[in-house]
Symmetry: C2
Subunit: 163 residues, 2 copies
């Protein structure tokens, strides 16, 4: 049962930056699965992990952020589990990703809300990073959870028809 995510996939060259971690992948798939399986009663973690073939214990740890961000409600004890805290159509994927990872920021010097890096002088470079940051966040926010949870493939269509 240790065969999650073929590890050969990732060392395909130098392999790339700007990557989301497995944490994000798992977290998003959890949310999508929960959306699909949520029919009024709480869905247990085990059910979702089995359904999506995700490492349960790790997922357990990942979910904390989603709960803290108020995206899901949890109920402990027998017959407990998770529910969406809001309708899927009102949850932007940007919220989900920001709950899973920290703030989405492509370069450390943008993290401190105030001054863009200490090299303020000629640091025109920070413009590049902040445009990337904005683009990523816009792209994420252009999807809702409901978009991804729709079973049929035409998700691209629905989101392409957005404004």
């Amino acid at each position: 049962m240790n065969d999650h995510q073929d590890p050969a996939q990732r060392d395909l060259h130098g392999s790339g930056a700007v990557t989301f971690s497995m944490r994000s992948e798992y977290g998003v798939r959890f949310m999508v699965a929960l959306t699909r399986m949520d029919h009024g009663e709480p869905v247990s973690l085990t059910d979702i992990a089995d359904q999506e073939d995700l490492p349960r214990a790790y997922l357990e740890q990942i979910i904390g952020g989603l709960r803290d961000a108020g995206l899901i409600d949890s109920q402990r004890g027998a017959h407990g589990g998770y529910r969406l805290a809001r309708p899927a159509s009102e949850v932007r994927m940007g919220e989900v990703l920001r709950a899973l990872e920290g703030p989405i920021v492509p370069m450390a010097c943008l993290a401190a809300a105030g001054s863009p890096c200490n090299r303020a002088d000629n640091c025109t470079v920070s413009q590049l990073w902040s445009r990337v940051r904005d683009s990523v966040n816009e792209a994420l926010d252009s999807f809702t959870l409901a978009d991804l949870a729709k079973p049929g493939s035409p998700v691209a269509l629905s989101s392409a028809a957005k404004h």
Copy 2:
């Protein structure tokens, strides 16, 4: 001489994903500095590292990718150094970043050019990642090296009202 990039900057919270590495930061700053200092004769690595306060030996290693990608020309030996291989206005930052890191891909399952992940069935999620990928690449390509090398570019002025 070991005071590059205050390490406290990065553990600011869980701190975030979708980050470019220092490699990218250094590489980009190298390119910008080279653009500014290139006046016909090759510019030595030491000069650039001093100017930008970057770890020279590390930079040396990073630059290999830029050379291999044909973005800079190098000349060995005394009075050697680096030159831009093309005019700065014709170099998109996307090229620079892709030369520094691998291909810009936000999730491993998009790396294999063909099929998006092996869970093809209901993996609507991959659409999210591919939109992010496209957004990032577009954002990067919307800048040229010349844009960043301009000393008094407008946005930089607004954020740097000092000196």
